[in-house]
């Protein structure tokens, strides 16, 4: 444990509770954070890591004496420079927020006011608090824009939020937090919504800015590899309780708790590449696609997938990987080229496809929340394809639904639940069962795990692999996560700006010599290794200006 005497922030036995109102039951008190203590020295970075619901954001916000959405701080102390900020009155807290402690939100796009210029928003808090004059604040903002590597720092502040990219916006938000010279910044998943190639620039910028300004920071994330690059200490949280707390070196190299070990070892290889990749089930031949306004989103893509195997399509957002899936399903007919399925050409448009053609290709969405009708029970959701494709009704349908629930490792008790009564991982399992109900040959998985916590995602991946073994399923697996590709793919396609830049068996596609883009992509994936960020940055040209 770090030395506690000279700490900037020291949280003692923090307890945060909220009241939940389950329908039809009396209100319940739930404990979100239970007895957490931590210490942070000046100029140091502490990483808070855990799954969603672990209470990490709630702890982060308590450093601003703030409880979000009905959460109340009911016990413990939050000391900043020796003063318990929970005991401060309204005015005291106002003087603190935005001046001594600042907050960087996950989605900068939602956090900036689209009606005001970035520059005005960045300096607003500092000027309002009377810490500096407008001109001084502008100068400080300009300096910070430079430190954060933003393009054209002199004129950057004159732009509106929609005129800059997501990565730039996240850095602008960091500038806003740093502007008032705060003693502590709370970063709440600042890079989670960004592509890997952008994430690395933002990470580097944040790290550089923290070193430059000697600010202390709480860095909240669910990605251990990211936090390992930026923190001095790490606290692992689960269900509102502390699991493990120590230096980065200790957590990464010699974790003592099982849960931490599971986080560190997540996503090992689960599937060895299939040796024979010649007999194609799905063949995409020179396919191009464009929107009705003439904007071309896919340029001459050719690839194939064999029966019982997994093709992973990787690329960042906007690379056309989801569009390819839409073309295969027929939602967006190709403008050129042909898709063959089991040797026969696939009808290009959805409306003209026969029911059997539709049945054989199923899609699993990224967000299981929106992919299932919230007004239908699990029985209806899984049962509908059974009735629709196989005419099953009544007891036969129920029996088959139960069998499918069994296959996705969920008990029969879930059959009458609504999606809102399921956890994220359970929802995704139900979505998988709905696809399985059609007895398809090919399942298109559009980032099915990217909205899930790492351990839950791992469970889903294992399930998909098990089902593939049992039922000879073929997957097109769309993802931006190279670690998943390594774990489950047989063949890999890398896409960039609507073009296929690389395609082949996994062993061949993910080994050198690389093309420029694949090289950049592979090197941007954070690795669980201390000093990885510095190593990459020295070998890689800083191209941050473009992002």
């Amino acid at each position: 444990m770090p030395d506690t005497s000279s700490s900037l922030l020291s949280i003692r036995n923090l307890k945060i509770e909220a009241t939940s109102y389950p329908p039809g039951e009396p209100p319940k008190r739930i404990t979100i954070v239970d007895g957490v203590s931590l210490d942070l020295q000046k100029g140091k970075v502490l990483g808070l890591i855990g799954e969603s619901g672990a209470g990490k954001s709630t702890i982060g916000l308590s450093a601003l004496a703030y409880g979000r959405g009905g959460a109340e701080i009911t016990g413990g102390e939050v000391n900043l420079n020796g003063t318990n900020i929970l005991a401060l009155g309204k005015d005291g807290i106002r003087k603190l927020r935005g001046a001594k402690v600042c907050y960087v939100a996950q989605s900068a796009a939602a956090a900036f006011n689209p009606a005001h210029k970035l520059g005005d928003q960045v300096i607003e808090a500092s000027v309002k608090h009377g810490l500096m004059s407008k001109d001084e604040a502008r100068k400080r903002a300009l300096y910070l824009f430079k430190v954060l590597g933003l393009p054209n720092p002199e004129t950057f502040g004159d732009r509106y939020p929609h005129q800059v990219s997501g990565g730039q916006l996240q850095r602008a938000m960091t500038a806003m937090a740093l502007c008032s010279n705060p003693e502590l910044i709370v970063f709440d998943e600042p890079t989670t919504a960004l592509d890997v190639t952008t994430q690395i620039d933002v990470l580097a910028a944040i790290k550089h800015a923290i070193e430059e300004t000697h600010t202390a920071a709480l860095y909240i994330t669910h990605d251990l590899a990211v936090v390992a690059q930026i923190s001095d200490d790490i606290m692992v949280l689960r269900h509102g309780k502390m699991v493990e707390y120590g230096s980065v070196k200790h957590i990464i190299e010699t974790p003592s708790e099982d849960y931490t070990r599971a986080l560190v070892n997540v996503r090992q290889e689960m599937r060895h590449e299939a040796p024979d990749q010649s007999k194609a089930l799905l063949k995409v031949d020179n396919v191009s696609a464009q929107y009705s306004n003439g904007f071309k989103v896919l340029h001459n893509v050719s690839l194939h997938l064999c029966k019982g195997q997994t093709l992973a399509i990787v690329g960042e957002s906007g690379s056309g990987k989801s569009t390819l899936a839409r073309v295969i399903t027929g939602l967006l007919p190709p403008s050129e080229g042909q898709i063959t399925f089991e040797g026969k050409p696939l009808t290009p448009t959805l409306k003209k496809r026969s029911r059997d053609e539709l049945r054989r290709i199923q899609l699993i969405y990224q967000m299981a929340d929106t992919a299932m009708n919230p007004r239908q029970t699990v029985r209806d959701i899984i049962g509908r394809p059974l009735t629709f494709y196989y005419g099953l009704r009544g007891a036969a349908k129920t029996a088959r639904v139960k069998e499918l629930l069994d296959q996705i490792e969920m008990s029969n008790g879930f059959i009458d639940r609504y999606p809102a009564e399921l956890s994220g991982g359970q929802k995704q399992r139900v979505a998988i069962a709905r696809a399985l109900a059609a007895k398809p040959e090919l399942i298109l998985c559009d980032e099915p795990t990217s909205a899930l916590d790492p351990l839950v995602a791992e469970g889903i991946l294992k399930l998909l692999m098990k089902l593939q073994e049992e039922q000879q399923l073929s997957y097109v697996f769309i993802t931006h996560d190279i670690a998943i590709v390594r774990a489950i793919a047989d063949s890999v396609a890398v896409m960039h700006r609507g073009k296929l830049v690389r395609f082949g068996a996994k062993s061949q596609a993910l080994s050198p010599p690389f093309d420029d883009y694949t090289d950049l992509l592979l090197k941007s994936v954070p690795e669980m290794e201390i000093g990885w960020l510095e190593k990459v940055l020295t070998t890689r040209r800083m191209e941050s200006a473009g992002n």
Partner: protein, 275 residues
């Protein structure tokens, strides 16, 4: 659902509607006098014999109120239900199909809405034969333009969701998508609108009766009764206020029930939180 979960306000609403229904069904048995029977002097004061007094022709107001429930309730309820069915089906088809069908339906709807409703109704009713069914249909069609606008707006929101896309990918037909995927997710705003539209239908019918194109005398309806007795107000006779209060009370009762249904559908397990 258990009976004691129903809030008191909903009970009041249910009781009011049940009372109106009872009056409509058993009017000849509970009304003390006949619908068109002249039983005393013009605008006679209320007393023990005539609970609400007599109207401008010396007919018993209570009896006419009870008989009037029949026409008012039937016409308003039928018109609202038909306008909703029509508006919802057309708007959902437009939202799901998009493109040309949406454009044709929506522009035609705009065309209808661009003509002031009352004037439209007056012209059409003056031309068509005087019949209750014609009246109901004219009211329903004119009102369905408003329902169409709302229906299309809420359905467009839901129609782009992934579960609708998933249903399309499965090969489901338009009817399934409209009634099974979209309708359950748009019920809350539509129900709220229903309560409002029902009240408007009563008022619209009253307006038409008032102008002589709705229910024809001597048949009783609440709006017509207000018209018949309006001159009494100048002389300090409250006869016009009785049917007026009945209209207000029924509208409030319907809205109390709708409010409760609204709360139920939006707090249903699995409801979209924002709906």
């Amino acid at each position: 659902m258990r009976l004691r979960d129903i809030p008191i306000t909903a009970w009041i609403g249910i009781f009011g509607i049940a009372l109106a229904l009872f009056c409509a069904l058993f009017a000849p048995f509970i009304a003390p006098y006949g619908e068109t029977e002249v039983v005393g002097a013009v605008w006679q004061e209320a007393d023990a014999q005539f609970f609400f007094g007599l109207d401008n022709l010396g007919r018993d107001i209570l009896s006419r109120l009870i008989y009037g429930t029949r026409t008012t309730l039937t016409v308003a309820l039928c018109a609202t239900v038909i306008s909703f069915s029509l508006g919802i089906i057309l708007s959902f088809i437009a939202a799901v199909s998009g493109g040309l069908i949406d454009a044709i339906f929506s522009r035609f709807n705009d065309l209808m809405m661009s003509i002031p409703t009352l004037i439209f109704a007056l012209v059409v009713l003056a031309v068509l034969p005087q019949h209750l069914i014609v009246l109901i249909l004219v009211m329903a069609i004119l009102d369905s333009t408003r329902v169409y606008r709302l229906g299309r707006a809420v359905a467009l929101d839901v129609a782009v969701m992934e579960f609708v896309e998933a249903a399309k990918l499965r090969g489901e037909g338009t009817a399934w998508i409209i009634f099974r995927e979209i309708l359950p997710n748009t019920l809350s705003p539509l129900l709220a609108e229903f309560g409002l539209r029902f009240a408007f239908a009563i008022l619209f019918l009253s307006t038409l009766s008032f102008l002589g194109l709705g229910i024809q005398p001597p048949a009783a309806d609440w709006g017509g009764m207000v018209k018949d007795n309006k001159d009494g107000i100048i002389f300090g006779v409250a006869a016009a206020l009785v049917p007026g209060s009945a209209i207000a009370a029924l509208a409030i009762c319907v809205n109390l029930v709708v409010d409760w249904l609204l709360k139920r559908t939006s707090s249903l397990k699995g409801g979209r939180g924002d709906a």
